[in-house]
């Protein structure tokens, strides 16, 4: 197993109390697997990303273990985690393409970045050029300023930088959100290519767009209100989702070809619970059409069907 996450908890400390953004998450990721992390805003997927790499000072690590390639990741300690970041675990943060220093040429920015990590920029340059070419970027891009690049180009530059040291785990946080549909396809396919060429071993793709995941992910993990509700292979999630939330989510997506007059899609009424004081038991029960009294108790982690498929629901058909 490339990545094993066991009962991970990460909260945000606020004036009003602890916001339990990630509240006991467990899953595994195999070598070469691209796992999609899907969920709506506030479900904790970005928090999970930051917890795995320890990049947000407002977030408090509360408990749980993360083991990467058999070695535990010290996600509770800044200094120790600093060693592992970029080499073993790397992240393409949300809005990364807007976060490049506007007053530095790309090449210089990369060199400074590598120096700050104690890596010899010169030695890596041929590899850097090779990878830039691979993603369809002219090596001349290194002497441009970020403002001279389009959104898709910037995103690809950021992806190349993040994977320069061949990390075991890459976390891609909403890398396609702000892009046009044609660029989305290019960027998503680049991600798959990185995995195919071995630049990264495993990838966690965080997005709210399930249809992108349907294209590139091997498996999908659905989160809701800080908890895992379902994890299965992409085909299983898309074709026959078991958890009521996954089912409602899938059925609320309009495919090209579905028309309002013919087939009225339905959303999910209500809102996610606030994570300051989450409800007991299953957090989805207020909006769930299948909720029973039993759902006030914490739902189990039901292994359903094939290896690696999990559903957290009392009512899920086995």
């Amino acid at each position: 197993m490339s990545l094993v996450v066991d009962d991970l908890r990460a909260y945000y400390r606020t004036l009003a109390g602890d916001v339990r953004a990630v509240d006991g998450l467990s899953f595994t990721l195999a070598d070469g697997e691209i796992m999609g992390l899907a969920g709506e805003s506030g479900c904790g997927k970005s928090t999970l990303a930051k917890a795995l790499i320890r990049l947000d000072t407002r977030m408090r690590y509360i408990g749980g273990h993360v083991v990467l390639d058999g070695v535990e990741l010290p996600i509770w300690d800044d200094a120790l985690m600093n060693e592992r970041r970029f080499r073993d675990v790397s992240i393409v943060p949300q809005y990364a393409m807007s976060a490049m220093t506007p007053t530095r040429k790309i090449g210089r920015m990369i060199r400074e970045l590598l120096e700050s990590r104690g890596v010899d920029g010169h030695a890596l340059e041929p590899e850097l050029l090779r990878r830039l070419e691979l993603v369809g970027l002219d090596p001349g891009v290194l002497s441009l300023y970020p403002i001279e690049l389009s959104g898709g180009m910037k995103q690809r530059v950021v992806m190349v930088i993040s994977t320069l040291l061949d990390p075991s785990l890459l976390i891609a946080d909403e890398i396609t959100s702000a892009l046009d549909v044609s660029t989305q396809k290019a960027v998503a396919e680049t991600l798959v290519e990185f995995r195919d060429r071995g630049f990264v071993k495993s990838v966690i793709v965080i997005t709210h767009d399930l249809s992108i995941l349907a294209q590139i992910a091997d498996s999908i993990l659905v989160m809701y209100a800080g908890k895992l509700v379902e994890k299965a292979s992409t085909a299983e999630i898309v074709e026959e989702p078991l958890h009521p939330y996954s089912r409602l989510l899938i059925s609320s997506l309009p495919e090209v070809g579905v028309r309002y007059d013919e087939h009225r899609l339905a959303g999910i009424p209500g809102r996610p619970p606030q994570l300051l004081d989450p409800p007991s038991g299953c957090r989805f029960r207020d909006r769930c059409p299948l909720a029973t009294e039993r759902c006030a108790k914490d739902p189990p982690f039901v292994r359903a069907g094939d290896d690696g498929r999990f559903v957290a629901c009392w009512e899920a058909a086995c």
């Binding site: 004036l15 805003s41 947000d56 949300q94 606030q274």
Partner: protein
Amino acid sequence: MTTAPVAGPADSAPSSVPETASQLTTTQETLYFALRNRKLVIGSAIVIALLAFAIVGPFIARHGPLDYTGHLSWAPTTKSGHWFGTTLLGQDVFAQFATGLRLAFLVGVVGGGIAATIAMLIGFTAGYRGGALDEFLNMITNIVLVIPTFALLLVIAAYLQVRSVMVEAILIGITSWPWAARAVRAQTFSLVSRDFVDMARLSGRSQMQIIFTEIAPNMSSYLFMMFILLFGGAVLIAATLDFIGLGPSGTISLGMMMQLSVQNAALQLHLWWWFLPPGIAIATLVGSLYVMNVGLDEVFNPKLREM
């Protein structure tokens, strides 16, 4: 389905930090932080104390500020109510100090107020309208900015035979606004691009209405801080003008006290009670205002607060 109307994570575009489920209104939250900010509390306490002194002082002084009491160069004593001593010429320092402090606040309010008004007028218009009007107002701002204001004030003040505090305050007000106008313009620019301004237009609101009912209230903390800075700046400029002998005629101010004391060799004569109080007062007043401002910035800007 019971979804109680409680604030929760907003389902807007994916955001990195969940909203705090705070039930407090913005005002309550601001007050909460305001009362806990040491800089703000200490700074405003000092300013309020000085203001109280300025209001009450002239009433409890036993002598008029310009009266010649015949008690020359007395050190601070309780005799005859000369708590701050007397000057070389026999005037009561306490009375002068209290009057001077009053004038300082007056100049601050009037001078700062005028500057703030001009800055807002120009800043809002330039920021909201943009285009050629903005260019024109920018040009004016830059010209006033570049004029050696101090030299200008010197010339004007020296030219006028009789100078009142009001005139001094007005002069300061009409020359110290450029930086503030620039700041207001920049803030207005960023607010104008927000959709709620377009929404106001779609609701039939006129430009003036939008500036005063949508944009200015959004900047209220900023404008408040700006006024405090202009206030402090006016006090300082007035003190400097007074110190070089261009103070208002017929009365006494803190700067003038310092000028007279230096002129009459108070330093050499060790009449410390004559120049120290006004100097310390000016420094404390302006310094406290600036400290207040830093504190206010922390209160209004959630990112600067220590949690």
